[in-house]
Amino acid sequence: MAKVAPQEHELRRVIDEGREVEGLGAAELLALYRSLVLLRTYDERSLVYHRQGRIGTYAIFWNHEAMQAGSVHALADEDWLFPSYRESAIGLLRGIPASTILHWWRGHPAGWWNPADYRVASICVPIGTHVPHAAGLAWGEKLKGSSAVAIAYFGDGATSEGSFHEGANLAGVMRAPVILFCNNNQWAISTPLEAQTGAEALVDKAAGYGMPGVRVDGGDVLAVYEATREAAERGRSGGGPTFIEAVTYRAAPHATADDPRAYIDLERVEEEKQNECVGRYERYLRRLGVLDDAVAEEVKAEALETMRQGIAEAEAEPEPDPELVFEHAYVDPPPNLREGWDG
């Protein structure tokens, strides 16, 4: 009988093993730090803005920053990102203005962006449904002879969806250069991992699609970087897709509307908070002597300034034109679209 477990369930680690990632100089290490801090600041400020009623419901990604920044830094500008709501601000790392993303959470059409401008797909709300998009894009780029790869971000819960399965299978068959990046924070709202899958580890799904799978510590930004870089190289060199399971633990509510105290393990949450990903990396950089207080200050101040400007711009944006209700759905709309409209 086929063994249930694959060969390797241990998490890849870099920071805790005190390793260094080949080819990453001080400049890159600091750039990565800037991205981490920017995402962290975006998230923490957004929570405040929400409490102040300046944005609507918001999906918190506190302590998910390492998975997002680590993977994006391992990719080239030509590569496509397919975020879920959990990665709503990942476009910041590709130059999408903070105000644009804040608009999205403010329910303002100015929250739209052109995915092609940044190679960042629209934020995907229906779970797992963007996995086929990423597979299709990667396959399509390959057919054109381009060297671009794609990465799709999704959660542990998403692996239960048929759309995840059909997208992953398509990627495996077409040997599409796509990275299936699973943010395994061990919760789908209130549903724990053991109620989500019978698998020993989500990475065990990879073999069923004929793709390599790798498991990393999702709080270790360098482990994420390293694994993603390998997967991207594999994809670019015709090796097809890779499944990455990044393991972490959700240390914040699912979203601003959620109260996890009813279901979550609060001690485990505390533990996770102590070991949160930005601090871990910061300590690592200080040990390496790449970061000191002055630089840390400056980076955080810069991020705060970005957010200050972002929210100011967002709030300066005039109310959207009601006519936008009818805009953009069709290049060539049906004639009777405004039927019954009276302004």
Binding site: V125, G162, A262
Partner: protein, 324 residues
């Protein structure tokens, strides 16, 4: 009589029906440990056990397909779809199996399952938390569809759905979940499928609606105060439909405005208008007007109010009819 919010009335229906029939079980995403993202199933897991209120994997086709199997095993599963737009992955199971399996058994088996979900807009939510998908359900053979607009009906229609021997889809207007507390009968309360609710009698014009559009019509009636005597009909049960009530009201007022939140083309308002064009043509004193959403993606919430049929749009349609 207790004063309850709609979502509390739904929970009340569960408490009563699960206690009454121990083959009834609830399943869905986050219905157990969290008691549902809207708390509709709060307390059920604690009271009835984790096998009667089950947190399923995140897979809507798996939930509904699993429920088909549960029916074969003698259970009466009530499936929650967390939001309207997240029910679409279950459409395949609904169309190809739920609505057909009893027929396939030559009428020997029953599939007393329920699919319920919060639906509709106006709640300032991110995209795909705002859809009104009733057309996809009503058009599907073998399933029944109900949409309450009051706490009492939410309890009574859910109870009826749970007791019905056929598959029933219940769409719950999330905009009304906590809008206001209203009187709800305690204990067993069943509102039979197939009966409309006369919200208010009137002589000059009939406003026909269901779900979240009923309060909009009530507001429109206030705007028309002094101009016309307005009758409001809450369809409540889309399938089976209370055609008599619809035709009776049309015969009485001769003027009908149908209000629907869903996109206009091929929405359920069109079905109601078609029935009038077929069976009330001699009673009509003017065109049958539809006030609806539009054939576009439901807008971002900053402008959603321009998409949603407003009391003003409804009142203007009525005025158009009155001066026809």
């Amino acid at each position: 009589m207790a004063e309850l919010f709609m979502v509390e009335a739904i929970n009340d229906a569960f408490q009563v029906e699960l206690a009454r029939d121990d083959t009834v079980m609830v399943l869905g995403e986050d219905v157990g440990r969290a008691g549902g993202v809207f708390r509709a199933t709060a307390g059920l897991r604690e009271r009835f056990g984790e096998s009667r209120c089950v947190d399923t994997p995140l897979a809507e086709a798996g939930i509904l397909g699993g429920a088909v199997g549960l029916c074969l095993a003698g259970w009466r599963p009530v499936c929650e779809m967390q939001y309207d737009a997240f029910s679409y992955p279950c459409l395949d199971q609904l169309i190809t199996h739920v609505g057909r399996y009893r027929w396939r058994s030559g009428g020997k088996l029953e599939f007393p399952l329920v699919v319920r979900m919060p639906y509709g807009g106006g709640v300032r939510a991110p995209e795909l938390h705002d859809d009104s998908p009733e057309t996809y359900y009503v058009h599907t053979p073998g399933v029944k569809v109900a949409i309450p607009s009051t706490p009492a009906d939410a309890k009574g229609l859910l109870a009826a759905a749970i007791r019905d021997p056929d598959p029933v889809v219940v769409l719950e207007p999330k905009l009304i979940y906590r809008a206001e507390k209203r009187e709800v009968p305690e204990g067993e309360h069943v509102v039979p499928l197939g009966k409309a609710r006369l919200v208010r009698p009137g002589d000059d014009v009939t406003l026909v609606a269901y779900g979240a559009m009923v309060p909009v019509c009530e507001h429109a009636a206030e705007l028309l105060e002094g101009e016309a005597s307005v009758e409001i009909l809450d369809v409540r049960s889309l399938k089976p439909l209370d055609e008599e009530a619809l035709l009776a009201s049309a015969a009485k007022t001769g003027r009908v405005v149908i209000v629907q939140e869903a996109p206009r083309t091929n929405g359920f308002a069109g079905e109601l208008a078609a029935i009038l064009a077929e069976k009330a043509i001699l009673d009509l004193r003017g065109p049958v007007l539809r006030v609806t959403g539009f054939d576009v993606p439901y807008p971002y919430w900053r402008i959603e109010d321009h998409y949603m049929p407003s009391a003003e749009r409804v009142a203007n349609a009525a005025r158009k009819l009155l001066s026809f």
